[in-house]
């Protein structure tokens, strides 16, 4: 499992910019960012190299931030790659609450899919099916380079 930083944001102008500036000033790099929003509020989900520090610095600046366990799975960057992953989960009745993808900056055309699932066994299931489930270390491994 990988720890994602989730931030509750009211929909008001400049709030997302403030969040980004706080992380930037703390020299925290974001690997991926996804905003789920309604008319009145949004939840910002961030994959970063230092989730604990990110949460701390955000809370210090008055943001409501939490760490959420998510599954990061590497998928071949080809048509049907994501479908294979999702079918593996649905065959085991594991529900996906939400998902988003980003392309690995270090890999060879591979993408990473971030999944919020309702079953702690999801990582195991995916590994057994032959998928490469990333640990935090693997996900951020390229940062040094």
């Amino acid at each position: 499992m990988v720890e994602q930083v989730s931030v509750f944001l009211e929909n008001r102008p400049g709030r997302l910019a403030e969040l980004a500036r706080v992380l930037g000033d703390a020299e925290i790099n974001m690997r991926a960012l996804m905003v789920a929003d309604t008319a009145e509020f949004g939840v910002v989900r961030i994959i970063t190299d230092r989730p604990h520090e990110a949460r701390e610095v955000l809370e210090q600046h008055g943001f409501g931030a939490q760490l959420t366990p998510v599954v990061a799975v590497e998928i071949p960057d080809r048509p049907g790659g994501l479908a294979d992953v999702l079918e593996t989960l649905s065959n085991r009745s594991i529900s996906v609450e939400y998902a988003y993808c980003f392309v690995e900056p270090w890999g060879e055309g591979a993408a990473v899919d971030v999944l919020k699932v309702d079953d702690a066994d999801a990582s195991k299931v995916l590994r057994e099916a032959g998928f490469s489930v990333l640990t935090s270390e693997e996900l951020y491994a390229s940062d040094a380079g």
Partner: protein
């Protein structure tokens, strides 16, 4: 029950007694207090024409300013030689209000406070530590005389010096504590610092009043001190403590209706409302001699708890004070007290009890938006959890207020915190109309 023949009398007998006492009191103040003569004359009221409780609606109200401007003795209804004690309350404006008591008033007051202690389960075998302040404030001496009248061992320790309070509590075997609710929590904390767990002491019941407190605070006090916490009510303009008290069922405060006539009125129209509806609490002292007050507007908001109490007292119950009439909002014709929202939020998980109400005009309609903070530890990662929370809060508030509202969830700790009168309401309706 300290006076079962009175506290459990039939409603018919009680009403007959009230009417008789009311007629006597109205004639008394008309004759002896110039302000009442003036008010009654201006209203064209002949005090002798009042011969039922319904007629009370024709009698003019008394407000805090009447007492203030009579400073110090202008509202007294007896010669100063017949006054044996005064108390005074300091107003927020700085002008103090003076109340005078005859020997008869002091005697009646002792009975009222003895009723209070007995209602919460205290007996002559108890050791009562009176930690309300003694002095011009009515709390200390009021509780003191009641405790003695009950026949309990009375410790007149007054407020403050908390470590000494706790030593005496332990050494004297105190079983009953009378103080403000916030002070009781401090006593618990200081005791813990001293290495004493109050729950190990014989203390078993506390009588708390003189400041507003909540049901949540009751839970906190009862678990921290290992006692039963009884809510008591009174105000110096009427008597001091002893106007109303909870019994052991802790569900509303029995008003000593043989001495204090209670009405609940709509703060806008000043018309009496039915039992069970919220409004401003109004008292008339039926027997007070020193400084009788007629239809005194307390500014406290509450209601009569409907139904009978299993304790057998026939005196109606006043619900815990929920707010001040100064805070009342009228939204689409419905009276709303912001404190009702606070009570709702206290019962909903995953939100903080901090809120702000924003009122706007949309066309000719009032629009209400309630901003509510998401609790910092709520797992808000999923939007549908947030939406469900929003809907729950909205439904609960609408149920309590009988007004439809929009609920906006806001970030944790984003609503301004302040002690005392927090800015709970932002009313933009007037500005928009003027614009």
């Amino acid at each position: 029950m300290f006076q079962p023949e009175l506290e459990a009398m039939s409603r018919a007998d009680l009403e007959a007694l009230q009417v008789e006492r009311l007629r006597r009191q109205l004639a008394n103040v008309y004759e002896r207090v110039p302000l009442y003569k003036q008010k009654f004359d201006e209203a064209g009221l002949n005090p002798r024409s009042v011969d039922s409780l319904t007629d009370l609606a024709d009698v003019p109200f008394t407000v805090k300013d009447d007492l203030r401007s009579a400073y110090p003795y202008g509202m007294f209804a007896v010669e100063l030689s017949d006054i044996v004690r005064v108390h005074a309350s300091s107003g927020t404006t700085g002008q103090i209000t003076v109340v005078g008591y005859t020997a008869g008033d002091i005697d009646m007051w002792a009975d009222m406070m003895a009723r209070t202690f007995a209602a919460g389960g205290a007996t002559p075998d108890d050791v009562i530590q009176v930690a309300y302040g003694y002095g011009l404030f009515t709390g200390g001496l009021g509780a003191h005389y009641g405790s003695e009248r009950l026949g309990a061992l009375t410790i007149p320790i007054s407020g403050g010096n908390t470590k000494r309070q706790i030593q005496i509590m332990r050494d004297f075997g105190t079983t009953v504590l009378a103080c403000t609710p916030s002070y009781s929590l401090l006593v618990g904390e200081v005791a813990a610092d001293m290495g004493i767990d109050i729950r190990d002491l014989p203390l078993r019941v506390g009588y708390f009043g003189a400041e507003p407190w909540s049901e949540n605070m009751r839970v906190q006090i009862e678990s921290a001190l290992g006692i039963k916490a009884i809510d008591i009510y009174g105000l110096s303009e009427i008597l001091g403590p002893g106007v109303a008290t909870e019994c052991e069922h802790q569900n509303g405060l029995h008003v000593n209706e043989d001495h204090f006539l209670i009405e609940i009125v709509d703060p806008e129209t000043l018309k009496p409302v039915a039992d069970g509806e919220y409004g401003e609490v109004v008292f008339t002292t039926l027997t007070k001699e020193g400084i009788p007050v007629i239809r005194y507007r307390t500014r406290d908001i509450s209601r009569i708890v409907p139904g009978d109490c299993p304790c057998g007292r026939t005196f109606r119950r006043l619900e815990r004070i929920t707010g001040r009439s100064d805070d009342m909002l009228i939204i689409r014709g419905v009276n709303v007290f912001p404190s009702q929202i606070e009570q709702v939020l206290a019962g909903v998980p995953n939100v903080a009890p901090h809120y702000q109400v924003v009122l706007e005009k949309v066309g000719s309609m009032d629009s209400v938006e309630v901003h509510v903070e998401v609790a910092p530890d709520f797992a808000f990662d999923e939007v549908r959890e947030l939406e469900a929370l929003q809907q729950t809060v909205c439904a609960e508030i609408q149920q309590a207020l009988a007004v439809s509202v929009r609920v906006k969830l806001v970030e944790p700790k984003s609503i301004e915190r302040s002690e005392g009168k927090a800015k709970r309401v932002v009313d933009l309706r007037g500005e928009q109309e003027g614009a």
